[in-house]
Every structure is written in structure tokens, then in C-alpha cells.
Symmetry: C2
Subunit: 200 residues, 2 copies
DNA sequence: GTCTATACGGTGATAGAC
DNA sequence: GTCTATCACCGTATAGAC
């Protein structure tokens, strides 16, 4: 009987092979989509056999869940609760934009969450929930940031609407940049949000 | 030797089975993605065997190309060259928004082009080109509309930037609505564009 | 942990009868 | 046009040796 869980303790050093598998999986999903990501390809990429991949992640759903949990943790770690000062909030927002910009420009991909959403019906129930949480967390974080931009303590409905518009703009900018193969479009579309503090 | 082409003459009545296959294929892609769409499933949906699907579309790439050509034609037919009057242009823009809204709300899906973009590496070269053209055409059409909104004859760089922002907003709104399973978000995000004529 | 070997179903595609 | 039959894969997943 195997007591090992797919979820590892946070901040504990992870098995390097397991980590390599997750990295390869994320790359593969970003490039080819979830359905096209196969254990055989991942194994070849890591330099092991597919049976060994199953040792670390029994099923494809297990691997995806681990990926989503890590993705959320990374995001939460990078987007620490920002200062309430207006300029600090704008800086935090710009950092958020930069995350989407990186994926779009240097990786040439849509966001992981958007790719998975395109194949939503293929995901297991738990991954669907984690995906939902991922969006909710980002919208909430953005709404808080927007409220700080005008010295409010708690986000208003208007702040939440701004947050939705920013999120939509980022995902849409990513799509447009990839579709037209013109990286500059991302910056053109998202530029207004980089100086939002001056207009709110 | 088969002289039949995958592309049918425009406005000619199409083989009803062929049409049913295309409809089923589009539905399947919107729901499950391109990779998960299989000839066997389409055949079952239409009520024939997969070999018969291959008769109408020799390869999966052929089917996708036919789908993209039809999609572009439908779009061009629906989005006729608008009047240059400001109010007529706004009405045309609203109609464009409505197209994305329909897919998002009633079909509960992202746009076909966005789904395919998530699996971009799986597409054949010709489909990639058609997908690229599809985005270019929409951005150009939107830029023209925006120019009409302020009585210009030819789109400026500023108009083109507006067009990109509208496109990004629509795709992002669709993603957000699907991710949060809250259809209202689409309208909240895209509402500003419905009254753009008053602010430009 | 990683391997070999294997089971078993799904997939795109083709040949040939009707 | 549609069928049956078949092919050569590729996919997830498991059992058991090392």
C-alpha cells in the first residue's frame, strides 16, 4: 500500500524527478493542450519510462491537480498582499500584468488557465473546482488592488467590475498576441492598466 | 479518382450529411477541443459510420479547414460593411459583440478561434493561416467601425488600438464568464463598448 | 524508483463490397 | 454514399521484476 500523496507538503523539497515531470507537463499543456499531453511524451522528456511517471502521478487527473495546486501557490507567493498605498498598489498591479506578459511573450502561449478552460469538459471534477478557485482568487486579488488605488478599505462593486475588466483584458491580450503573432499587441492592449492609479 | 473538393461552391446547396458533420464537428470542438473531436463521435452523432465521414472529409485537417472557411464566410455575411453614420456604426459594433455573447451565454463556450488557438501546435499549416486571417479580418473590421464612430474615412493607429482592445475584451469576457460560470460578467465587461460612440 | 511487458480501448485512415 | 472490416498506431493504466 502506498501512503504517498500527490500533494506534497509546502516548502518541503520535492522529488526532483517529480518536479521535472510537472515542469514538462506544464510546458506540454501550454504548447499542445491538455488532451495532447501524454505520459509517454513526458517520460521521454524527463528521460524515464511512462510507468515511472505513473509511480509519481497515478492518473492524468492527479498530475493536473498537482499542477493546478502548484500554480495557485506560485501565484499567491508572487502576489503577496500589497501595501494599501496608491503607488504600491499600482506597482503590484503592474507586477500582475507582467506575469501574463511573460507567458504571452517569452513562452508564446495563452495562460494555463485559459488553455485548460478550452478543454473544460475533459477535466475531472476536482480540477474544475481548482480552476474555478484560481479565477476567483485572481479577481478578488485584483479587486482589492483596485480599491487600494483609490484609498478604499474594501472593494466596491465598481472595483470588482474593474477587476473583471483587467482580467478579461489580460487574457484577451494574450490571445490576440498569439493569434496575430505580434507580441506588441499585448502591451498596446494592457497599457491603460499600467497607469490606472492616475485615472481612478 | 475523386474530383470532389472539400471546399464547396458558395451559395450552392451543400450535401445535408456533409453539413450535419460540420455542425457536429463545430459543436464538438467548442465543447471538448480539437484533439478530442473524433470522426467516430461525429459519425455516431450524425447517424453514420466513421468511414462515411472520411468520404466527405478525407482527413481531420480537411474538416477543420472547411469549418474555418465556413466560419469566416458566416462572419463576413453577418457583419456586412456598415454605414459610415456614427449611430449605424455603433449598432454594427453592438451586433458584433452580440455574436460573442451568443457563443458565451447560450453555448457556454469560448469562441471557436480561441479554442483552436489553445491547441495551435496541433493544427495543420493551412488551418493556422486561416485562423490568423480570421483574427486579422475581425481586427480590421473593428478598426473600420471605430473610425466611423468619429466620422473618419480610414482607421488611424488609435482606431486600430481600440479595435484590439475590443477584441481582447470580448475574448477575455468569454473566458471569464465560462471560468466563473457567471454569464453576467460578459455584459459587465463589454458594456463600455456598447456606448463607445458617446465617448469617442 | 525505475524498469519490462502487457492489457485494452480509442484514433485516423484505407480497401473493397454494395 | 454508406457500409464492414481492418490496420497500425497511440493512449492510460497495471503487474511484477530488479
Amino acid at each position: 500500500m502506498d501512503m504517498r500523496s500527490t500533494l506534497d507538503a509546502p516548502d518541503k523539497p520535492m522529488n526532483p524527478t517529480k518536479l521535472a515531470i510537472m515542469d514538462a507537463a506544464e510546458q506540454s499543456i501550454l504548447k499542445h493542450g491538455y488532451k495532447a499531453m501524454s505520459f509517454r511524451d513526458l517520460a521521454a522528456q524527463v528521460g524515464i519510462k511512462s510507468a515511472s511517471v505513473h509511480y509519481h502521478f497515478p492518473t492524468k487527473a492527479d498530475l493536473l491537480q498537482a499542477l493546478l495546486v502548484r500554480h495557485q501557490s506560485t501565484l499567491e507567493a508572487a502576489m503577496k498582499p500589497p501595501k494599501k498605498k496608491r503607488q504600491a498598489a499600482q506597482k503590484a498591479l503592474n507586477q500582475f500584468i507582467e506575469c501574463y506578459r511573460d507567458i504571452t511573450i517569452s513562452r508564446g502561449s495563452m495562460a494555463l488557465s485559459a488553455v485548460l478552460l478550452a478543454e473544460h469538459s475533459l477535466l475531472d471534477a476536482q480540477s474544475k473546482e481548482q480552476l474555478n478557485d484560481l479565477y476567483q482568487w485572481q479577481c478578488d486579488w485584483l479587486a482589492t488592488i483596485v480599491s487600494y488605488l483609490h484609498k478604499a478599505e474594501v472593494p466596491t462593486d465598481s472595483d470588482r467590475q474593474y477587476a473583471s475588466q483587467i482580467m478579461a483584458s489580460l487574457h484577451g491580450a494574450s490571445i490576440l498576441a498569439k493569434a496575430t503573432q505580434d507580441a506588441d499587441i499585448f502591451d498596446q492592449v494592457t497599457q491603460p492598466w499600467r497607469t490606472l492609479v492616475d485615472r481612478i
